[in-house]
């Protein structure tokens, strides 16, 4: 599922730190420290990190920010903020702000046609919704993938065969098809429930997790296969180190690079289907979602709006800061 080539182009732009630079300055640092040292000197990576941090902060402090700007998600009477009188020109569009009027400080990002909703409020809370879902799904998928990959690669034999079969089996299921099939089942089962919105989020996290772990698992398994024959692992075995300790203390630290790369690639990939109404049609939440801010018509009318949902996507797409982090470590 993961497309390992997706982030590669970015690597060129980040610039390779001089190979000898770090090691001559300080000796005896751990690989992680060396990596962070190089990352700090990489200007592009730091800019990217700041952008990512910005969106994380926006997501965390969405309600505070909304209060500061004086905007909210509460439904408004749309005819109070939109032109509803067919006799007047501009019917269906906001009475203040773009596309027909100048900047409106009460609604800095403007008002959505039809619903009369405030775009800024939806953008703020949308960041939160997107990050929660993508973050949780990435975490679950990574944990499952790493665990299964480690076990399969290290145990080998029948265990490896079974786990590999399960991985291949899940890889054969087309994600989009499965997601679209599950959506109506979920809506049918839970639509009358009190906590429908919660179930929508949970089912989305579930679908993304269930179909997201195989890439990581395969990657980790492959790495472990080569690592387990290396001298330090053999040495550890000879000394009689328990398997659990070999897995966690010897193998895992050496897997940091592929893990960081794959999770950092997964996060924006999982965000995207939500961002752009593509995936489960019924699964979209009614409020607080970035991708729904802007319909195709609005894009034509006010090009500025196009950028709103795109910014976070691009931010984590371009700023796969982990690339820079991982490369020196590997």
């Amino acid at each position: 599922m993961t497309d390992p080539t997706a982030g590669v182009q970015v690597a060129e732009a980040t610039g390779h730190p001089e190979p000898g630079e770090g090691s001559t300055a300080v000796e005896g640092r751990s690989p992680l420290q060396i990596a962070f040292g190089r990352l700090k000197r990489d200007k592009l990576a730091m800019v990217c990190a700041i952008v990512v941090l910005f969106f994380v902060l926006v997501a965390i402090f969405a309600d505070v920010l909304a209060a500061i700007f004086g905007v909210s998600l509460d439904p408004v009477r749309n005819c109070d903020v939109l032109e509803c009188n067919a006799a007047n020109p501009g019917v269906g569009y906001p009475l203040t702000g773009p596309p027909y009027y100048g900047f409106d400080p009460e609604h800095p990002f403007g008002i959505a046609p039809r619903t009369g909703a405030d775009n800024l409020a939806h953008w703020l809370y949308g960041c939160r919704t997107s990050l929660i879902i993508a973050g949780t799904a990435t975490l679950i998928a990574s944990l499952v993938g790493i665990t299964l990959g480690l076990v399969a690669g290290f145990a080998g034999g029948i265990v490896d065969k079974i786990i590999s079969f399960v991985i291949d089996f899940f890889l054969t299921i087309p994600f989009l098809l499965a997601a679209l099939t599950i959506a109506p089942i979920v809506i049918d089962r839970f639509s009358q429930s009190e906590h429908y919105a919660l179930y929508q989020v949970l089912s989305l996290i579930g679908v993304l997790s269930v179909f997201g772990w195989m890439g990581v698992a395969r990657l980790i398994r492959g790495e472990v296969l080569s690592l387990r024959e290396r001298e330090f692992v053999l040495a550890a075995r000879v000394v009689g180190m328990p398997t659990r300790r070999i897995l966690l203390k010897e193998l895992l630290p050496n897997l940091v690079a592929p893990i960081v790369i794959s999770t950092s690639l997964m996060l924006p990939r999982l965000r995207r289907p939500r961002g752009r109404s593509g995936v489960p049609r019924h699964r979209r939440e009614r409020r607080g979602q970035v991708g729904r801010l802007v319909g195709p018509d609005d894009r034509q009318r006010d090009p500025v709006l196009v950028q709103l949902p795109a910014v976070p996507d691009r931010a984590d797409g371009r700023c796969r800061a982990a690339r820079a982090l991982a490369e020196p470590a590997g």
Binding site: P75, P89, P99, Y101, R114, S191
Partner: protein, 593 residues
């Protein structure tokens, strides 16, 4: 006839659209060309002498494919002619695939619809008191197999409409059930196969090619009722067994069914066996028709406005308000406003919301303009506030103001009415279903809920995906969700210009689309009495009954009188609408080179 789409399309004024692109400017520029809501015409003329072939449309060409988008509209659930009672489904099938006793033709000069013969050679011969109608079936009409259509098959098709249990949402449940002789005892050939042998209400003579229908009461509107595809032929015996027949019915019009996926797509192809000389109104210009149901409204708008190759041979049965001005500018005459006798109602459950004050409070709690705007309509053009149950343009109809004046959104008045009925704000809980998965219905529901809450109601919502027509919930008494609802809705269009096709269909005890479950003996009795009156007295009687029902019971809340807008691609010839059905005029469309 029901409107499948819970909230259809919209439109308005002014030649603005100097794209004040990046949010500057001092507002949109004003303009002229104000379109307004047009009332439907009051009568439909008849021409019993018209014969096939239909006169050629000026400039018509053969060939091509026409794609028809139905945004937010799941379309018919099946294609069985006996079960079809929706504007979307009937307009397609009656124009293209399924013939009946009579049909409508559009007069190219006046744009009015005219009732003309179809499978019958004329508009039928009634006896003196309209209790027996005889139709002579023409000898050159055929099925898609090439086999001739016989009087026996027509009689069999009509007999199927007696089966209210098998076709619970078909129009036979109203017109066959209440006007045809024997319908009170005989429940149709599928429910009572033993009785079918002895049934004599519909008789035929294959040699004389006649079909005779006996009425239980005087029924002068039989020729209009004959224009429904339910009054057409069906293959004898097992070949037309429901529900299988509804998935792929045998066609006898100029097109036949190639494939049908409910809520998604219907593809029709040329029926080579159709004989143009046998048909006074239909044409066979395009090679193929593709109907796309439950289309995304914004994507459809974008496609239609793009003017690309795909959109040039496409037409959309609705557009959204934000794009109205763009459509007017880009399409001009190819944006057609079609008036029809259509009304949207809220139907509070008569058995659960028993206080008239609460029903009136609901009328004040509906934020008319906001809901229309949210659902992509433009107030004043495709939607105007409603007062009576019967729509404007229906003879005998008069405005009815149950509260002295036109009801508008007034949450304070709603609260007063609620407290008169003994409810504090927040006490009364409304249970309603709505469609999700499309921005228009969700935005509209948000406004509806807000309006109700501001008026002192609390709201419990039951979402259904847009592919599920709400009518399948509302009209199914066994549906577990439906049992919980106390506020439903219905959108209704007249089947022909008479109160007979509005009031009884919506308010008779047990009627399929009586989603309010309204039941009053006195009113039911009048539904039976008025058709017995002298013809000239009937319109006024329906008008008086309309007022009586609203002022005494207020069982239905008329929300809006509705018109539709159709957007035609630039390569579609003769872009016109069908005023009898409130649909695009499929019979006369063609693709230009």
């Amino acid at each position: 006839m029901r409107r499948t789409k819970a909230l259809a399309a919209f439109a308005t004024s002014a030649a603005l659209v100097t794209l004040a692109a990046c949010g500057g400017g001092d507002g949109p520029e004003g303009g002229s060309d104000n379109r307004e809501f047009e009332d439907a015409s009051e009568t439909i003329d008849k021409d019993p002498d018209r014969q096939g072939p239909a006169p050629e449309i000026e400039g018509a060409q053969q060939g091509g494919t026409i794609t028809v988008y139905h945004p937010d509209d799941p379309g018919p659930e099946d294609l069985d002619p006996t079960n079809g009672w929706s504007v979307t489904g009937n307009s397609i099938q009656q124009a293209l695939t399924h013939r009946s006793l009579t049909q409508y033709a559009r007069d190219p000069e006046s744009g009015e619809m005219i009732l003309v013969p179809d499978l019958a050679e004329d508009l039928g011969s009634p006896n003196e008191d309209f209790t027996e109608w005889t139709f002579t079936i023409r000898d050159n009409a055929t099925w898609e197999t090439g086999a001739p259509i016989t009087a026996e098959e027509v009689a069999w098709g009509i007999e199927r409409s007696f089966d209210s249990s098998t076709f619970p949402s078909g129009p036979g449940t109203e017109y066959t059930e209440h006007f045809f002789e024997g319908a009170d005892e005989y429940d149709g050939p599928y429910s009572e196969p033993k009785e079918a042998e002895n049934f004599e209400g519909v008789t035929f003579d294959n040699d004389a090619r006649t079909v005779t229908i006996r009425m239980s009461t005087s029924f002068p509107d039989m020729d209009y009722w004959g224009a429904f595809m339910a009054m057409g032929p069906a293959p004898l015996g097992n070949a037309s067994q429901p529900p299988a027949y509804g998935r792929k019915p045998l066609s006898n019009g100029p097109y036949k069914v190639e494939s049908f996926r409910p809520s998604e797509e219907l593809v029709l192809v040329r029926n080579e066996a159709w004989v143009p000389e046998s048909d006074p109104a239909r044409h066979q210009y395009p090679d193929r028709w593709v109907f796309k149901f439950a289309a995304d409204p914004t994507q459809t708008d974008e496609l239609m406005l793009s003017g690309n190759t795909e959109s040039q041979t496409a037409l959309s049965a609705s557009i959204t308000s934000e794009n109205y001005q763009d459509f007017v500018d880009a399409l001009g005459d190819r944006l057609v406003q079609q008036s029809a006798q259509c009304v949207s109602y809220w139907a509070p459950d008569y058995t659960k919301i028993t206080e008239p004050e609460v029903r009136k409070a609901l009328a004040y709690a509906y934020d008319y303009e906001s809901v229309w705007t949210a659902s992509g309509e433009v107030p004043g053009v495709t939607r105007v506030p409603a007062s009576s149950i019967m729509p404007p343009g229906m003879s005998g109809r008069e405005e009815v103001f149950v509260d002295g004046e036109q009801i508008t959104y007034d949450p304070e008045r709603a609260k007063e009415l609620l407290s008169e009925a003994g409810y504090e704000p927040g006490d009364f809980e409304i249970h309603m279903a709505y469609n999700t998965g499309t921005p228009t219905t969700e935005a509209a529901q948000e406004q509806i809920k807000r309006g109700l809450e501001e008026a002192g109601f609390t709201v419990k919502e039951y979402p259904f995906p847009i592919e599920t027509s709400l009518y399948t919930v509302w009209t199914d008494p066994d549906n577990p969700t439906n049992k919980k609802l106390n506020l439903r809705g219905v959108n209704w269009c007249s089947d022909w210009p008479s109160g007979l096709t509005m009031l009884p269909s919506l308010l008779r005890t047990g009627a399929t689309y009586n989603t309010a479950f309204f039941s009053e003996e006195g009113v039911d009795a009048q539904f039976d009495e008025i058709p017995q009156m002298p013809l000239e007295d009937q319109p006024a009687a329906w008008g008086a009954l309309d007022e009586e029902i609203l002022t005494e019971y207020f069982p239905l809340i008329p929300l809006a009188y509705r018109n539709d807008l159709f957007a035609f691609g630039e390569k579609i010839g003769n872009p016109t609408g069908d005023g009898a059905l409130g649909a695009p005029n499929y019979k006369d469309l063609f693709v230009t080179e």
